[in-house]
């Protein structure tokens, strides 16, 4: 029986050789993560699927640079993040961000302890994230939404793992500051 990683490695090799079906299988596996990363970078779900489609085309173009022995997801999410950043720059947007909470979870895979997190906690966290810059949102999303390791994040962000650690630390500090500020605003 093939392990998932083995299968992914095979798909990457086939995609590198020009197998479009294998490439489609690879990107489909990470579609939800790609949409989430694009949404976080853009600050809105609107346009996220366009960004992912553009990223698919760009990723296909540069498929030869994928290393079969490294994480395809990291490489693919780097392309998605780059394309989304470019789209955000081109549109010149956006003063107001609009990350929103879905009425139901976007994935069937649920953490059993998830029920313990209240809607209010999520709402406040999203409101604080919305006040952060795109780079802070991205590093938080990679770590906490995608559950990536620092090494995987370093691949996405094209920097050293130590840099990831400091960027994440600073982003989390700013997130906490925003949460405290919100609390002060509500209290006053």
């Amino acid at each position: 029986m093939l392990l998932i990683d083995d299968l992914e490695r095979i798909l990457v090799r086939r995609a590198r050789d020009g197998d479009a079906a294998a490439f489609g299988e690879l990107t489909a596996r990470h579609r939800t993560s790609a949409l989430r990363v694009a949404t976080v970078v853009l600050g809105t779900a609107t346009g996220a699927d366009d960004a992912v489609q553009d990223a698919d085309v760009r990723a296909w173009r540069f498929r030869a640079s994928v290393d079969p022995d490294r994480s395809f997801r990291s490489w693919y999410l780097r392309v998605v993040a780059n394309v989304a950043k470019s789209a955000r720059r081109s549109s010149g947007r956006r003063a107001v961000l609009e990350l929103r909470e879905a009425a139901t979870a976007s994935s069937d895979v649920r953490d059993p302890a998830d029920e313990a997190v209240t809607d209010e906690e999520r709402r406040r966290a999203i409101a604080a994230i919305n006040r952060l810059g795109a780079d802070d949102r991205l590093v938080i999303a990679l770590r906490h939404f995608e559950q990536m390791t620092e090494a995987e994040m370093a691949d996405v962000m094209r920097c050293a793992p130590g840099t990831v650690k400091s960027r994440l630390s600073r982003a989390m500090d700013r997130l906490r500051a925003q949460m405290r500020e919100q609390h002060s605003e509500v209290a006053s």
């Binding site: 479009a20 079906a21 489609g24 990107t27 489909a28 939800t32 949409l35 989430r36 949404t39 976080v40 779900a45 609107t46 346009g47 996220a48 699927d49 366009d50 489609q53 698919d56 085309v57 760009r58 990723a59 296909w60 173009r61 540069f62 640079s65 490489w75 780097r78 780059n82 394309v83 950043k85 990350l99 929103r100 909470e101 139901t104 979870a105 976007s106 994935s107 649920r110 953490d111 302890a113 998830d114 313990a116 997190v117 209010e120 906690e121 999520r122 406040r124 966290a125 999203i126 938080i140 999303a141 906490h144 939404f145 995608e146 559950q147 094209r158 997130l175 906490r176 949460m179 405290r180």
Partner: protein
């Protein structure tokens, strides 16, 4: 909620990730349908991606043979935009690559690039007259005749940094034997960066490893290509 401990905050954030809206609403869809007719609904795209890519490969293959990488190279995207001609008709007001940049000394340029710079005195251009740090990244090498070499090291080729708007596809020619991949763009065109919109002339763009290089001059295409090859030889020798 004010000061959650790290574990609790991580848990809340993981839950946010699960609950985040990652698909546009129906209203958004309507707006986008008006704006971008021809875009396929996401579900159709997901299901038909493989088939679409096969089609793309078949349809675009002749183009890929004609120009490098779908009219793009490295982090530079080349768009065919006939309306660029009207913008270029006012090119007298468009700045060029060197406008607004401040010349720096060689050690500063070396520091930005992260490696030593060749002397560049083995070409017909002679030694450069100065260096500048580009706001978009990398170093600009400037010669007294107006020729410039924009050298960006460790470029992430999966990102789009620069957009060239050209009037017609014939302006772009793929070049053999220069770096890993190279194109010549002939004629005036627009260069859009995250910071500026510039007027540009004849340009050779090429990739060597993680480096992206761009030489621009008012010399004609064949002569510019020869200069690019000579510059590339020095870049290669500098390692």
């Amino acid at each position: 909620m004010i000061d959650l401990d790290d574990e609790r905050l991580a848990h809340v954030l993981a839950s946010v990730g699960e609950h985040l809206v990652i698909a546009p609403s129906a209203v958004d869809d309507d707006v986008r349908a008006d704006r971008r007719r021809g875009r396929r609904p996401l579900v159709v795209v997901a299901v038909g991606l493989a088939a679409a890519l096969v089609l793309v490969v078949v349809v675009v293959a002749p183009i890929r043979r004609t120009v490098a990488d779908w009219l793009g190279i490295g982090s530079t995207q080349i768009d065919i935009d006939p309306s660029a001609s009207s913008a270029m008709s006012t090119s007298v007001t468009l700045p060029s690559l060197v406008d607004g940049v401040q010349l720096v000394d060689r050690p500063t340029a070396v520091g930005r690039l992260g490696r030593d710079l060749p002397t560049f005195d083995g070409t017909i251009l002679g030694a450069p007259s100065g260096f500048a740090l580009m706001p978009e990244g990398g170093v600009l090498v400037v010669w007294s005749d107006g020729t410039t070499l924009w050298w960006r090291a460790t470029v992430d080729e999966t990102s789009v940094l620069l957009k060239k708007a050209i009037v017609e596809r014939l302006a772009v020619t793929e070049l053999d034997g220069l770096g890993d991949r190279a194109v010549l763009v002939v004629g005036e065109h627009l260069l859009r960066t995250p910071h500026r919109t510039l007027g540009a002339g004849n340009v050779v763009l090429w990739l060597r490893g993680d480096d992206e290089l761009r030489v621009e001059s008012d010399r004609d295409g064949p002569e510019l290509v020869e200069i690019a090859r000579a510059l590339d030889a020095e870049v290669r020798a500098a390692g």
